[in-house]
């Protein structure tokens, strides 16, 4: 009896799916496009994140400490940094030991395995991340030159202007893509809602008879909800295919740059891409269930 009901639900769902093929295609396509945009947003953010990971949190200067520096040399560098309260924000000064620095390097060189393979936890420099308190870049620059010569210091790096541009760009792109994907996702839910409503309207005589002979609302509703769910899921699968293709093209493009230019940080690890795909599938299913759920309950209330 349970099996009979399940097969009934799927049979009805499939028949209705074929009947409304144009509306169904539009709903699926919109879901796919909106979810692809959601996925792309995730990937772009991740790529920017890799690029900017060193400079996150207003860091403007990094003091790299030689791997073979003694503990007292490290302590000296730290106190010398804290000795500059007018230039440096002592509260925000952060030290990354070799293990933490290596973890960071894995992100930066995600797309550049050759460089990464030259690094080890033992040979990588540890680092002080410096957040300036002054607004005058010249002060920071002269401080950097001063520290270059301190014992135990390997090198000093300054945030370059292009990083600040990229950081701004990144937050702008994030706002725009998130906004657009939300709008498109709402449109997708609306289209699924409309398809299901139309499907139910086309079968209103059947639904009327079903209600008169005592079918429960859930029995009437389930095939239509499955139909909406399927639309969302198919849209999600299509968007995953699109995302896979986009990421491949992107990775190939990035790989053609010279290694060591920093561009390679823009490569997104494939584990992350699979994670995003799972999210897209879940979002597609939710969009389908919400759209068809609203349509089904509204219709049956009448």
């Amino acid at each position: 009896m349970i099996l009979g009901r399940i097969s009934y639900a799927f049979r009805e769902m499939w028949a209705s799916f074929k009947r409304n093929i144009t509306l169904t295609a539009a709903a699926i396509l919109t879901s796919a496009v909106s979810l692809l945009l959601v996925g792309t947003t995730f990937l772009i953010q991740r790529a920017f994140d890799n690029l900017l990971v060193q400079w996150r949190g207003d860091v403007e200067m990094i003091v790299f400490v030689r791997a073979d520096a003694t503990e007292s040399q490290v302590d000296n560098i730290e106190s010398a940094l804290k000795d500059q309260p007018t230039v440096i924000d002592g509260e925000k000064l952060k030290y990354l030991n070799q293990k933490q620095s290596f973890d960071e390097a894995k992100k930066i060189f995600a797309g550049d395995p050759n460089t990464l393979s030259l690094l080890t936890e033992e040979t990588i420099p540890s680092q002080f991340k410096v957040v300036p308190i002054t607004k005058d870049p010249e002060l920071v620059r002269s401080l950097a030159e001063q520290f270059q010569t301190l014992p135990g210091v390997e090198s000093v790096a300054l945030a370059e202007d292009q990083f600040r541009v990229i950081a701004k760009l990144s937050s702008f792109v994030r706002t725009v893509t998130i906004g657009m994907s939300l709008v498109l996702l709402a449109v997708a839910v609306g289209l699924i809602w409309n398809t299901i409503r139309t499907a139910m309207f086309a079968r209103r005589r059947e639904i009327e008879v079903m209600k008169l002979v005592g079918a429960t609302n859930w029995f009437i509703r389930v095939p239509f909800m499955l139909e909406g769910l399927l639309q969302g899921l198919i849209g999600a699968v299509v968007s995953c295919g699109g995302l896979w293709g986009l990421n491949r093209a992107w990775t190939n493009g990035v790989a053609s740059f010279k290694p060591g230019t920093g561009i390679s940080a823009l490569v997104v690890p494939s584990g992350y891409v699979s994670g995003v795909m799972v999210i897209l599938i879940a979002l597609g299913a939710i969009a389908g269930a919400v759209g068809s759920g609203i349509a089904a309950s509204r219709f049956l209330d009448v």
């Binding site: 009896m1 009979g4 009901r5 009934y8 079903m210 209600k211 008169l212 002979v213 079918a215 029995f219």
Partner: protein, 225 residues
């Protein structure tokens, strides 16, 4: 079996479709609701299967106050009621067999039971030769028989019929009435709305007469005046 207590149903503020109606129908009775078009016959029937709810008063069916019943229980109430309409309400893309089977399928009856009950009821209504026809291949009287078969296949306690002969010529209508009488003789309570004088006068059943929503007569073995 059915009891109405001071039932009033208003649609818009102005239209009172049923006003302060009270009556009781015993198990196995056959009752005609008569009155001119717009007098509230269909509304009374719709109050009995909870397609409508009254503004005032109570409707009791099979021992339960159906207006206090939660929505989720209404499908089970309706499984004890059969409905027959003037326009048959058959599904055009299903055969005679499928139309009747549909009523059992959607309440989750198992296949072997459907295979057994549908042919039996189609034989009862005299359509055993036409099980594979579609509604448009049948006469009006035959279509009404299919709809009666669908209403009766689950052996309801009560059959509610809204002008079942309204679209039929007199002799076909008489055939439908004989079928309804047979169903009534199995113990099924029947409430039938009609404004067909001839049929009411021929059968001499209990008559409840409505005039603009008010019951003006309730008479055993009555005629249409």
């Amino acid at each position: 079996m059915i009891r109405l207590e001071s039932v009033t149903k208003e649609y818009a503020q102005e239209t009172v479709a049923v006003r302060d109606a009270s009556f009781e129908v015993q198990k196995g009775e056959f009752v005609f609701l008569v009155g001119p078009s717009g007098s509230g016959k269909s509304t009374l029937l719709r109050l009995m299967n909870r397609q409508e709810s009254p503004e005032r008063g109570e409707v009791w069916v099979a021992g339960r106050n159906i207006n206090e019943m939660p929505d989720s229980k209404v499908p089970y109430l309706r499984r004890t009621l059969g409905n027959v309409f003037q326009d048959y309400k058959l599904l055009p893309n299903k055969t005679v067999f499928e139309n009747v089977a549909f009523a059992l399928e959607v309440i989750g009856k198992p296949k072997h039971l459907i295979a057994q009950q549908v042919p039996a009821v189609l034989e009862l209504v005299g359509l055993e030769d036409k099980t594979d026809r579609f509604p448009h291949q049948l006469s009006g009287g035959e279509q009404q028989r299919v709809s009666i078969a669908r209403a009766f296949v689950n052996r309801p306690l009560i059959l509610l019929a809204d002008e079942p002969t309204g679209n039929l010529d007199p002799s076909t209508g008489e055939g439908i009435m004989r079928l309804l009488e047979r169903i009534n003789q199995t113990g099924t309570t029947i409430v039938m709305a009609t404004h067909d004088h001839r049929i009411v006068n021929m059968l001499r059943k209990r008559v409840i007469q409505l005039d603009r929503g008010v019951i003006v007569r309730d008479q055993e073995r009555g005629v249409y005046e």
